[in-house]
Amino acid sequence: MQIKLGKENLHSEFVKLIERISGEELANCYQCGNCTGGCPVSYAMDFGPREIIRLLQLGQEDVVKKANSMWLCVGCLQCYCRCPKGVSAAKILEALRQITLRKGEDHEAIKEVPFPFLKNAPQQAIVCGFRKFVS
């Protein structure tokens, strides 16, 4: 993958928006990878949490937006608990989700959620799922 670096990437409005929503400073991450090491879903992500942060540090908005990583983060906070710098990758991935959801774009279509799930699943799963996947 070729990445073009420049001021317009490194200090883009998108990166500032992520920092504002998440309250995290991307530059604090020094890429040790403890987050990805502890992340239970990194195996299924296009880019693990460490890579997502690195791509954002390099201003790679398009690459990050296309990745499935944000929709797989369960918010278990293992990344944050094991980060020696106190960075919360979970908050950064939440900020990515929110940028989509706050535009009114849904990740899951409510109509397509299977009825057996709605009938049998714990209410907390339904409420939490809608909050994470629906605008």
Binding site: V74, F117, P122, A125, G129, K132
Partner: protein
Amino acid sequence: MKIPYYPGCTLNTVAKGFDTSARHSAVLLGFELKDLDQWNCCGAAFPLTPDNVMGLTAPAKVLSNARKEGDTVTTLCSVCYNVLKRTNKVVRDDKEKRAVINGFIEEEYDGSLNVIHFLEVLRDKIGFDNVKKAVKRPLKGIKAGAYYGCMLLRPFEDMGIDNAEAPTIFEDLLKSLGCEPVEFPNKIECCGAHLAMGNEDVVTKLSGNVLSSAKNKGAEIIVTSCPLCQYNLEKSQQRLAEGAGNLQMPILYFTQLLGLALGQDEGSLGLDKNLFDVRPVLKGKGV
């Protein structure tokens, strides 16, 4: 002793056994869980977006109502506990956010409530030694894997119930009931949580890891304090049974096991709702 109690949505519906077993156990231990006069859903996820307080208004309303009934509130569901405790900290420590939240919910709540988990009631108010004394039916020889999951423990600086990497509160309770707690590597790993909506494959993988990790260490049952963990572990057992893996074992709420040990009437424990019945395991051990 009456302790104000927040049941939450799931314990009022699909996890009724969790609720009833705790209420009955409380009576057998000499206290009462008193429902809050008014409560609403906690929101089921602590918002990870510090730029917006809207997600904190629902739990703040719960806390504000609870404060009118005393200085403490207890809950059973790990997620409710996580959301209420963390919201309480925000209201207590962040004056600016407190003002905005109070404006929305039209209350004057200051964050002075003490949010404790039912496990903390047993450990700190009753004492595991006294729980042990009240046991009528010691669960001798039952090898139980204590599954903490995420929300009971993390983040440590907000939750503080136990060590976030090597907790023992569950095992300590299990020992007082006569069980043999089984240590297993995945006891603080995620079950897949809300990915149950739309991403079953990931849930099956994650919950499967928890199940096999416990089974490999000799667990015969798994004990949890989260209805979503319970659901995901059971559903994954069903899905894995269709393939090669046989990871079938009873997944119980810790209060169901507590109720059994205290000699509670089995009919009030909700055991029939569990996918795999724990009673044959008990019978096999002569309990």
